[in-house]
């Protein structure tokens, strides 16, 4: 279907079902129940799943296929956001102007940064991209304040031009009148499900770019990128110049990042420099690795995993912990809460750092590899069981 083989088609269908039914799937617990805090089916979080999924899919096209580790992709995220907000300021709140611009500007920046950085490979490349991203951050934060509004962040003010703004037009981001932050609610017994326009807009874009990523992975171009990772010497001695291929991958992944940044601003009409900080670049690296570098579904899983646990961990506080561990004897309860305390709430970054190390050390292939390992272990066990039962017959 659509030029995909059977396996990829079923993967695409699974992702489509997950994305479209996410408001149900992510809200398995009835409203008001003790478990409701583990629900993730509210618009803000679902949007973040999808947007960071797009960011990670794009990053994976560069890092997963070519092996070039960029530490500066957050720069493109920021550029995408600024582009969209500027279109709000100049034209109107319709996201149709800003998003293509976000892709184009981030693509152009990626071309420039990639052209310079790809003259070097390995660690030099990582450091160069890091330097560029940090420079972009500094530019956005303090140097280019007329364009970025510096520390405050870029936002729309009432005295902005907004030349296309109609009399009855919504005053928040929308797509031809479909307002992003409006939602429909469905109450089924104790359950409550939210269907948000913005989420579905992002989800459809995710499906499009995920489809595009599959096509890239299966294309001759994708094969060349894997060849770059595998053996650049052989590629050179096969009459192929690795650099334009790597640059094309860099630009594509930069455009994905720009689109993700643009979508952030499409959900919430703000753009700030902190989006470009290098910790944000590190986060997308972690998402990709955690999910499974070089796999199709991995980055999406990784992004969802991290954003979900970020949300859960940041919400938990000592009171909740005390509720959970109330069954323990008092002294033990306090001790357990004391031990867990540094990792929750504002301590989420600590958990993230530890997770980062554990994944790189023990599971370099990420969740996808972990899943495969479990599958293999199970089938081996089944084989072993079968072998055991056979002689008995």
């Amino acid at each position: 279907m659509l030029g995909l083989n059977k396996k990829d088609t079923s993967l695409m269908i699974v992702v489509a079902i997950l994305a479209l039914f996410a408001p149900f799937i992510l809200n398995p617990f009835p409203e008001g129940s003790a478990m409701a805090q583990f629900n993730a089916g509210y618009p803000d979080l679902m949007q973040r799943f999808v947007i960071f999924g797009i960011f990670a899919i794009g990053f994976n096209i560069l890092f997963g296929l070519t092996g070039y580790l960029s530490f500066g992709h957050a720069a493109f995220l920021g550029i995408g956001s600024y582009s969209v907000v500027w279109m709000y300021k100049l034209l109107d709140y319709n996201v149709i102007w800003g998003l293509p611009l976000a892709i184009i500007t981030s693509g152009l920046f990626a071309l420039l940064i990639g052209y310079v950085s790809l003259r070097r490979s390995g660690i030099y490349f990582s450091i160069l991209t890091l330097a560029f991203a940090q420079m972009s951050f500094n530019l956005a934060y303090s140097v280019l304040t007329p364009i970025t509004n510096g520390e405050t962040g870029l936002q729309v003010y009432t005295d902005d031009a907004q030349v296309l703004l109609g009399a009855n037009e919504a005053t928040s981001p929308h797509l031809f009148g479909i307002v992003m932050n409006s939602s429909a609610k469905l109450d089924l017994g104790p359950w409550s499900f939210t269907f948000n326009n913005g989420y579905y807009f992002c989800a459809i874009i995710l499906l499009l770019v995920f489809y595009l990523a599959i096509r890239i992975f299966r294309s001759p171009f994708g094969m060349m990128l894997r060849a770059i990772k595998s053996n650049q010497t052989r590629l050179n001695y096969t009459g192929l110049n690795p650099r334009p291929y790597a640059l094309a991958a860099f630009v594509i992944s930069g455009m994905y990042a720009g689109l993700a940044g643009g979508l952030m601003a499409a959900m919430d009409p703000l753009a700030g420099a902190e989006r470009m900080q290098w910790t944000a670049s590190g986060e997308v690296v972690l998402m990709t690795i955690l999910g499974g570098t070089g796999t199709l579904i991995g980055p999406v899983l990784g992004a969802g995993f991290i954003k979900y646990f970020e949300n859960i961990f940041s919400k938990i506080n000592d009171n909740i912990l005390h509720q959970w561990f109330a069954f323990l004897p008092d002294g033990l309860e306090d001790f357990v809460v004391f031990i867990i305390h540094p990792f929750i709430g504002k301590g989420w970054h600590l958990t993230l750092g530890i997770l980062f190390m554990l994944v790189v050390i023990f599971l370099p292939g990420g969740l996808v590899e972990g899943g495969q390992r479990i599958k293999r272990a199970l089938s081996r066990k089944k084989d072993a069981d079968a072998a055991k039962t056979e002689p008995a017959e």
């Binding site: 660690i123 990582s126 330097a131 420079m135 500094n138 050390i361």
Partner: protein, 343 residues
């Protein structure tokens, strides 16, 4: 002219910090072949050693002074640091005053231990893995260390003063025949520069004149051959890691009075120190030092008002711009050797 001298002086202390961190990074990279993203965290831990020691020295007990009363009319509670009680008020006060220099002694064993644990516990297992994995695992470690410090010390910078003797500034201009107060330079920054020069000199002398250093230098030039000679290079490299950690740590200790330590200072310095290493030439120790001072001074020039009025904000990006230009024109950096980190 006076403005130029002033900017050079202002660039020296930042340049010293860059040089010290870049020196450690290069040592680790050259000997172990590992790109250590957690090196900035070592600098930060050093600065917090100074904070911790000054907190320890200020530990106090309370006594009630019956002769005085506070504003509510209750007997006044007086806090006396233990060191004052033990060593007498004057010596005790001096010890508290000199907390930062004392912290060097306090930090060296801590930093060496941290370095050993890091190398033996984590980095050792990554020698044979891809550079990307090394970057990622040390990046994770850097986040963890930073967050742990944040957990114990909070997110706000903690002012940590230099000894009273070094407060105030030195009128450097008078020496050169300028009017007073034209070129003034804080004493502690001067101390920092001389201290950095001393440490850098010490590291170079150590590598140049000891057998240990000779083996390490040989290992930097060609790791495999030295391994073949039957010299237990790994053990020496562990020690080298400890030394690099100590250099970063004491650089951090002494920097505490210049910039109040905060938990993310390591990351801030790390990015720039990497740029310094790349500009200096990966694997070149003199290159790291040279580039450190060069970029520090350059940054300070770019923050001059005359230059900032020409190109606004240039001070924020100058280092990156210079690094990019140098890498494009001299891909191996200023003093990089052929064959280091090249595919």
């Amino acid at each position: 002219m006076d403005a130029i001298i002033l900017q050079i002086l202002n660039g020296l202390d930042k340049g010293s910090a860059y040089a010290l961190i870049a020196l450690g990074l290069t040592l680790i990279f050259g000997t172990l072949g590992v790109v250590n993203f957690a090196h900035g965290a070592l600098f930060m831990i050093g600065a917090f050693c100074a904070v911790t020691l000054s907190k320890i020295l200020n530990l106090s007990f309370e006594t009630i002074d019956p002769t005085k009363t506070d504003f509510l009319g209750n007997p006044l509670k007086v806090k006396t640091p233990y060191v004052m009680e033990w060593f007498g008020p004057e010596t005790g006060a001096a010890i508290i005053d000199w907390a930062v220099p004392l912290a060097i002694l306090f930090s060296i064993p801590i930093m060496i231990a941290v370095g050993f644990i890091m190398e033996r516990g984590l980095i050792k297992h990554f020698y044979k893995r891809a550079h990307a994995d090394q970057i990622l695992v040390t990046f994770g470690l850097a986040i963890v260390l930073q967050e742990v410090v944040k957990y114990f010390f909070g997110a706000n910078p903690i002012p940590t003063g230099a000894p009273d003797a070094f407060k105030g500034s030195f009128d450097f201009g008078v020496l050169l025949g300028y009017d007073p107060n034209v070129i003034i330079y804080p004493y502690w920054r001067m101390v920092y520069f001389f201290f950095a020069a001393l440490v850098i000199g010490g590291v170079f002398a150590f590598l140049q004149f000891t057998t240990f250093g000779m083996v390490v230098r040989a290992g930097m030039a060609d790791r495999e051959t030295v391994g073949l000679l039957g010299i237990n290079i790994d053990k020496r490299f562990t020690i080298m890691f400890g030394i690099a950690a100590a250099v970063a740590g004491i650089a951090g200790v002494m920097y505490a009075p210049i910039n109040s330590p905060n938990y993310h200072m390591g990351m801030d310095f790390l990015v720039l120190s990497f740029v310094v290493v790349v500009v200096g030439g990966m694997g070149s120790l003199p290159g790291a030092v040279l580039a450190g001072f060069l970029l520090g001074i350059l940054e300070s020039f770019a923050s001059m008002n005359q230059i900032k009025s020409l190109i606004p904000g240039i001070d924020q990006i100058i280092i990156y711009v210079v690094a990019i230009i140098i890498l494009l024109t001299r891909p191996r950096g200023l003093m990089g050797r052929k064959g280091v980190m090249e595919e």
